[in-house]
């Protein structure tokens, strides 16, 4: 016994409409749920890129002669030095004694660690105090105006 025949049109239509409504709604929601992530994906993030084997350390005019600054290189701090003779050098900024972060001391003319008065010369060699090893050196290259720091091969 076919129920739709007995009950006539109205019930059939109601069922059809309900299902069609759910179906249409479902299709629209589905399209939204697919399109929204794709559109969000296409919007470029704030930082253009994260690059860890070489890092842009700023522009030449951002670091003065006879000064140093600390740069983030992946997960490690690196100290970039511009000597009074206008040479650019970069070293690991983690002191080889007990891992404090070193700094450039203009008055000493050396790299200095505040924790136990360790000193490194401007070639990264440990020259005074407790540090047992020199600082690892990084490669500095200039691309136009930009300073690029990368790992030494």
């Amino acid at each position: 016994m076919n129920s739709h025949m007995k009950d006539g049109q109205p019930v059939n239509e109601k069922k059809r409409d309900f299902l069609k409504i759910i179906l249409s709604g479902g299709v629209l929601a589905f399209i939204g749920a697919v399109v929204y992530p794709i559109l969000a994906y296409l919007i470029p993030p704030k930082e253009a890129e994260v690059v860890v084997s070489s890092v842009k350390a700023g522009k030449l005019n951002e670091i003065a002669k006879d000064s140093g600054k600390i740069i983030k290189f992946g997960t490690k701090p690196v100290i970039l030095i511009r000597t009074a003779n206008d040479e650019l050098r970069a070293f690991s900024a983690t002191c080889t004694h007990l891992d404090c972060t070193v700094q450039y001391r203009k008055d000493f003319g050396t790299i200095w660690c505040a924790c136990h008065n360790g000193k490194y010369d401007l070639n990264g060699r440990n020259i005074s105090g407790p540090p047992p090893r020199p600082l690892d050196e990084f490669r500095v290259t200039i691309q136009g105006d930009d300073i690029l720091i990368s790992k030494k091969a």
Binding site: F30, P37, Y41, L42, P45, E49, V50, V52, S53, S54
Partner: protein, 357 residues
């Protein structure tokens, strides 16, 4: 809405005359019988291919090829790009599900002997696509340039180099050099996004056209009966296919959220290989087999023997429509069945052994 669609249809039809094609498509039927369920795996494979193309193109917008940047760019996609984690994990999971689905599709076709006349070309193009698929998997795996991938590629291309005569040139061709380097990465990238998709699409087009032209094959023992139930391909089968596709999509989303694809450590060619390195599961049974073959058999290297065996097996499998004459005649072929069962069991058992090792 309907009138608008009809207007567009008429506009196109006046210029391209698609009415004939549409009528033809409307007449396509799909047999309905207890084995009908296997019909869906072709569609699922196609769906997964489409997913790969879409997610692949999206990844292409942020991926940077090259030793210095590949790993970092994927890290970037996973962490900084909105929904990047989702796109990437779906792409990696789909690759595996695609191969699995293709294997199920291939074996179901095999056991149903659907490769028999007149569908020999369909089978061959399908097998060629399967081999291309493995190439997709192998080349794509290297693109993140992580530790696992680096060593897996090293081992895999080493094995390719063992093939007699052409092995060494093949190895250099694949690696773009003697060793696995950034050059290999660039080459694999080219394979993965241009060469393989191009060739694959050609075979896919032939495969789909043939399926549409010839319709679905019916199992032997059923076509011998007189009673035949069918359903229209459009809209019934399509809508059922779609339902399944939605469930597969949901599965992918769940996998991406709860089992995100790992990135691991960046490849370091100078570091030693991590312990227990093994290829992805779809290569595992071959890898494990090679381990069991003794170092030297008569005058042949064990590895060479292993590769030759698999090569010959693959070749015979690909040309089965041409040597299985019984099925072409409509007869049951027990040998083919036993061979197939052996192959399935072998693959499953050796994959498990390889996994546990």
């Amino acid at each position: 809405m309907k009138t608008l669609l009809k207007k567009i249809y008429d506009w196109v039809d006046e210029r391209v005359e698609i009415q004939g094609l549409v009528e033809y498509m409307g007449k396509k039927y799909v047999p309905v019988h207890p084995h009908s369920i296997w019909y869906y795996f072709g569609g699922v494979s196609l769906f997964l291919f489409i997913i790969q193309v879409v997610t692949g193109i999206l990844l292409l917008l942020y991926y940077k090829s090259g030793e210095e940047l590949a790993f970092e760019s994927i890290n970037f996609i996973m962490s900084k790009v909105q929904f990047g984690w989702l796109i990437r994990s779906i792409h990696s999971w789909t690759a595996n599900l695609f191969i699995l689905s293709a294997m199920i599709h291939m074996f179901s076709v095999y056991f149903e002997k659907a490769y028999r006349k007149p569908r020999e070309i369909t089978w061959v193009t399908g097998m060629l696509m399967f081999f291309l698929l493995l190439g997709f998997g192998f080349s794509g795996y290297l693109l993140p340039w992580n530790e696992l991938a680096f060593f897996a590629t090293k081992v895999g291309t080493d094995i390719a180099g063992v093939v007699p005569v052409i092995g060494k040139p093949l190895l250099i061709f694949l690696r773009s050099g003697e060793e696995v380097t950034g050059a290999t990465l660039s080459r694999f990238f080219g394979f993965h996004v241009a060469v393989l998709p191009g060739i694959f699409t050609v075979f896919l087009a032939i495969h789909l056209l043939l399926v549409q032209r010839q319709g679905m094959s019916e199992p032997l023992h059923i076509s011998s009966k007189s009673e035949r139930k069918t359903m229209p391909f459009f809209p019934n089968f399509i809508l059922r296919d779609l339902t399944l596709w939605l469930l597969v999509l949901n599965l992918l989303a769940i996998l991406a959220v709860f089992f995100p694809w790992e990135l691991g450590k960046k490849a370091d060619p100078f570091a030693p290989a991590p312990a227990g390195i093994k290829p992805e599961w779809y290569f595992l049974y071959m890898f494990q087999t090679l381990k069991y073959i003794p170092g030297k058999l008569w005058f042949l290297d064990g590895e060479v023997l292993g590769i030759l065996l698999f090569g010959i097996a693959g070749l015979l499998w690909t040309v089965v429509p041409f040597w299985d004459h019984k099925s072409a005649r409509g007869e049951q072929n027990r040998f083919v069945n036993y061979l197939g069962i052996f192959a399935v069991l072998y693959i499953i058992i050796f994959t498990i052994i390889g996994w546990l090792a």
